[in-house]
């Protein structure tokens, strides 16, 4: 009787403790990764290939998404802003939302799938096939060799990808406004410039940096914690996408509260 009453509580307690344990492990991993920054000789040669893989290779998908986001933003803005609101506000809305929110967040969510899952699956496979152990036996620090270059590459490249995505998104919104909404370029640009603040771009850069760290960090963590063969690798990849997406949105809210 008492058992059945207590069970939900104990389940909750166990879950909570497990969560704390997980957080602790993640913190330990990242602290160790931070210490591994010293081993520049290990991670530096891997940095550029990772920048190419994580950053450059992500540009097409990010631009694709930004293009359609820009089109949709432009059309929806003109649909919403009717009546007394001047038409150039379409430019304002497209610019502001692309720079402040959709550029960084949509790109990060996409890359959580593309980059995060990729890293998780890759490191997971390396873990279950003992390649991570092999690295260690060859006297490599796996954190310096695998984790540091990936996180650094993402931290460096995410802002670049996001900046390109923002630009393309605004450009596609502009073209949409010209072609489909009968706006003129000066009108759109007027709206675009109306509330523009260079700080917005910095805000986006700061956000992208943190999103890059989150996506690759979660990917590395889940990947290195993989257990149980191919199935475990799949689980890790899924977990990475879910956790990274959630963290991205939480962090997004956090930055909005702190920096705006």
């Amino acid at each position: 009787m008492i058992e059945s009453v207590l069970r939900p509580f104990s389940t909750l307690g166990v879950r909570f403790l497990a969560l704390l344990e997980e957080l602790g492990r993640a913190a330990t991993l990242f602290a160790a990764a931070f210490r591994s920054l010293r081993n520049a000789g290990v991670w530096f040669p891997n940095l550029l290939p990772e920048m190419a893989r994580i950053g450059v290779a992500s540009v097409p998908i990010a631009l694709f998404i930004a293009t359609f986001t820009g089109i949709v933003m432009s059309l929806q803005a003109s649909y919403t802003l009717t009546g007394a609101i001047p038409v150039y506000f379409v430019g304002t809305l497209v610019g502001k939302t692309m720079i402040l929110e959709l550029g960084p967040v949509l790109t990060a969510l996409t890359l959580a799938g593309r980059v995060g899952a990729n890293i998780s699956a890759e490191l997971g496979t390396m873990r279950v096939t003992e390649q991570v152990d092999a690295l260690e036996t060859l006297a490599y620090d796996p954190l310096a060799y695998l984790v540091v270059p990936r996180i650094l590459a993402a931290v460096l490249m995410f802002p670049i990808v996001v900046l390109l995505a923002m630009t393309i998104g605004i450009a596609s919104g502009w073209v949409t406004a010209l072609q489909l909404l009968d706006m003129s370029s000066p009108e759109f640009v007027k709206g675009l410039r109306l509330f523009f603040d260079p700080w917005d771009v910095w805000f986006a850069v700061i956000k992208s940096v943190s999103f890059g760290a989150i996506v690759t960090g979660v990917g590395c963590y889940c990947g290195l914690r993989t257990e149980g063969g191919a199935e475990g690798v799949g689980r890790s990849a899924t977990r990475t996408v879910v956790v990274a997406s959630m963290l991205i949105l939480c962090l997004d809210a956090f930055w909005a509260a702190v920096l705006l």
């Binding site: 096939t129 260690e136 036996t137 060859l138 006297a139 490599y140």
Partner: protein
């Protein structure tokens, strides 16, 4: 100096894998640890290179306590030990040659040319000459094992740890690998520790054989002593007789339960 494990205990959650395992491998010999799958043989090997730390007991290599080593000392130790993984654990993203050269790249005094020369030597030693440009996925199981061995010996280690070197291989390839292990001992003077459940292979390569059973060293002796041993568990395992093996094991567990 050699490898010395004393009263090593290790558990993963509720599962006690090692329950006070003791083993000494002296320089120049090749020791084999035999036991069924899942008995903790790989766990044992990982303790020797510091991939795992024991819950209690000591692990020393060349007199240095492995669990206490950190940083450069650990790196130095690991360069003295080559580890041949069960499924070779080659890095998929690199060619075989890059895999073999991996352990050399960060060693002082090794430039690209010297690494290439050494890589070719090692590949030739494991009879994979000319395969350096292939990727692991393009190799057969036996070739992969040999590539893994080449990678382990490239930094000229004093110790080689083999994790199931012949598992999943056909008898001929098994024989090739066994011969390689012997060559390592005889030509390079490497001290070997082979973990295997393949008794044929164990008898072929080992100077001494230790039976790992229920987390402890149940029996240690030369191949001849093993063949002559009367211990039912060891005999059951060597002869592949489950009734004997499990019967004795069960009796033993019941024994303990009663006590």
């Amino acid at each position: 100096m050699g490898i010395h494990l004393r009263e090593v205990r290790k558990s993963f959650g509720p599962r006690d894998v090692l329950r006070g395992f003791t083993l000494r491998v002296t320089d120049g010999e090749t020791a084999a640890i035999v036991g069924p799958s899942g008995s903790g043989k790989s766990v044992l090997l990982k303790h020797v290179v510091g991939l795992l730390t024991p819950d209690s007991g000591s692990v020393t290599v060349d007199g240095a306590a492995v669990p206490e080593l950190k940083g450069r000392a650990l790196v130095r130790l690991r360069r003295r030990i080559g580890y041949v993984f069960q499924f070779a654990a080659l890095f998929d993203s690199m060619t075989v040659a890059e895999n073999v050269g991996m352990g050399l790249r960060r060693m002082p005094g090794w430039d690209r040319r010297r690494i290439r020369a050494r890589t070719e030597d090692c590949l030739a030693l494991v009879e994979l000459a000319g395969m350096g440009d292939r990727y692991p996925a393009q190799l057969s199981g036996g070739q992969r094992k040999r590539a893994g061995l080449a990678r382990a010996i490239a930094p000229s280690p004093r110790y080689l740890l083999y994790d199931e070197p012949t598992t999943g291989l056909d008898p001929v390839t098994t024989a090739v690998i066994d011969r390689l292990i012997l060559r390592m001992r005889d030509e390079l003077g490497v001290t070997g520790l082979v973990v295997t459940h393949d008794m044929t292979s164990a008898f072929r390569v080992a100077d001494r054989i230790t039976m790992l059973h229920e987390g402890k060293a149940r029996f240690t002796g030369t191949p001849a002593e093993v063949r002559a041993a009367a211990d039912p568990v060891l005999r059951g395992f060597v002869e592949g007789n489950p009734d004997l093996y499990f019967g004795a094991g069960r009796a033993r567990s019941e024994d303990r339960a009663e006590r």
